[in-house]
Subunit: 331 residues, 2 copies
DNA sequence: CCACTAAATGTTATCGTTAACATATTCAAA
DNA sequence: TTTGAATATGTTAACGATAACATTTAGTGG
């Protein structure tokens, strides 16, 4: 494995000259030496050792992606897609990406320090730990979907409130009056809480407020069994804040001989590619994952380039995608 | 950011003693010092700098995952799942994972060298470059789904041939006589070629060989338009070597007013979670992605622990999952 | 009490690269 | 010719950790 030292010997110069060429500081090296060194580099296939560079210059070129949770988070198509886009964009910008799933925020610092990470992106809820994380790691941090009330948090999110509103307005417009909501961790101020607030505000205005028993702050398992929905006193429609869960729910219904949207209408969230594949195709609130990844990476890179840059919060738009999972109840 | 030097000063010992404690060489340090040092470590939250360790010991703790292709490969649920599992397993074993997508094998060496990778896993076809890659990188390499004829290639794959057989036998058993095959890169000896060979061998034995015009070595776009299948001279069933493509195909059919399985039966491959969600649910050949990831990681770790270990080829089983996308044509 | 092993600890050099500073060299202006 | 800036190159030390070897200390049997 060839090093700068070897190249320097071969070219009859000092390692520092080689280092300058490797790092593109062409103004400081004579044209003659640049050419000589570059030709040796390509002849031997020299590759800089980033561990060494990282040690000596404190710039590792590593960005860490932190996902809260456990197990295989990349199986979830949303996570797979956003992680994939982010590492693609980071790779295009010359950075290497490490993905870690952590349970505890203490793991975060360990992960960031071990590799001298130059920046980090966080998914999932970290609101309560943000201050701590930031204090322990003086590098640019960018969050996704955080509703932390702290100032100075750089966050890229979507308009979850509007998403809820869109869902509610559409249901109302289709003649639904008794509807339900299903999300998780509503007591934390996360995405689902905002979706809930948007959703319920519209319903209230329309004169058909969400009753308490039709708000499910729960994983799918604890949802009331689908056959409850056959009886007319149950909601005619459900807003489930994730396509994946909505699809799973519709499967459970089907396994009991019930059908979407005849027995219960469904609106999902995310607009994953599979949402168009199901039967009926799922009506859902769309967020643009690629765009979110793009903005997140760009924001991080900006902050890495200029650490005095003020924090920023970006809210991306969402839209309603009408497919076939909501019944038209207007006579 | 605290280093071993700081700890050594605080404890009144040399850095070497600290290093020994950090690396768990407890037999070489007195109980007293072990405790003193460990308490300082946890008090200050010391984290070893792996760049430095990597430089000095040549052991970086990094495993690189190389995917051939471009763009966001993790969006594909198969890749997302297997990459997710592998990094999970590697993380559990104390290693860090870097995922790279490369177009050219030359990138491979660059990626492996920059981080002193200790091992690498390859997806996608690299058969012709394996020799070269191995020569340039003297670290354990494990491949997935390679049909390289080179000796000494450690590979974890599935029984693709059997997968093809299972599909064909099932179709025959259901009364299909005129069937088609759709895969990619059949001329390379990859997974799809094996699936094709298994598939066609069974059909031949059964007396209804695949005609040339019903073998599509093509991306979906270049498949004949679905409405061709309405006319009786076209295949009554298609074996499409990827669930994702099969689903996409069935959507294209539906958009033209045709239906699976009435107008054309379909068998997919992989048994992705979405295969059960579609209408009709997709009959497919199942491979166990988690198990594949498990074996691949374990094999790599074994080879990293003992570099003299002989190469091995592991072939995992596949099975037929009958759902609803194949019509029963028996009278 | 000495020699001798085993256990505990320390010293030095090194990994590959870069920052910071130092030294030549060149050329133009004074 | 001298001076000064600009350009090109080199030297040294440092980044944090570990390997390899060296030394000290403690404990053992003769």
């Amino acid at each position: 494995m060839i090093t700068q030292k070897d190249i320097a010997r071969e070219a009859g110069v000092s390692v520092m000259t080689v280092s300058r060429v490797v790092n593109g500081q062409y103004k400081k090296v004579s044209r003659e030496n640049i050419e000589k060194i570059q030709s040796i580099i390509s002849r031997y296939g020299y590759v800089p050792n980033l561990s060494a560079r990282s040690l000596s210059s404190k710039s590792s070129g590593i960005v860490v992606l932190i996902i809260r949770g456990k197990g295989n988070r990349l199986m979830d198509p949303y996570n797979g897609a956003i992680v994939g886009y982010m590492s693609q964009f980071l790779q295009e910008a010359g950075y290497s990406t490490m993905v870690y799933t952590v349970l505890d925020y203490r793991d975060v610092t360990r992960r960031l320090r071990t590799w001298n990470a130059q920046g980090a992106i966080f998914f999932g809820m970290f609101d309560n730990e943000i201050e701590q994380i930031r204090e322990e790691n003086k590098i640019p941090l960018v969050f996704n979907d955080s509703y932390s009330t702290l100032r100075q948090v750089t966050n890229i999110g979507i308009d979850d409130f509007k998403g809820g509103q869109l869902a509610a307005r559409y249901l109302i417009g289709m003649g639904h009056r008794l509807v339900g909501f299903c999300g998780t961790s509503l007591s934390d101020n996360g995405v689902d809480r905002q979706r809930f607030l948007g959703f319920s505000s519209v319903l209230k205005e329309a004169g058909c407020p969400l009753s308490e028993e039709s708000v499910f702050d729960a994983d799918l398992e604890s949802l009331p069994p689908p056959d409850a929905y056959a009886d007319g006193r149950q909601p005619t429609a459900l807003f489930i804040t994730s396509d994946l869960k909505a699809i799973e729910f519709s499967l459970r219904m089907r396994s009991q001989g019930l059908h979407v949207p005849q027995d219960c209408s469904l609106i999902g969230f995310d607009d994953l590619p599979i949402a168009g594949f199901t039967t009926p195709p799922l009506t859902t609130i769309r967020q643009d994952i690629r765009q979110k990844a793009r903005y997140t990476v760009d924001t991080l890179l900006n902050h890495m380039a200029d650490s005095s840059r003020p924090s920023e919060r970006i809210v991306l738009d969402v839209s309603l995608v009408v497919r076939g999972s909501v019944a038209d109840l207007r006579t």
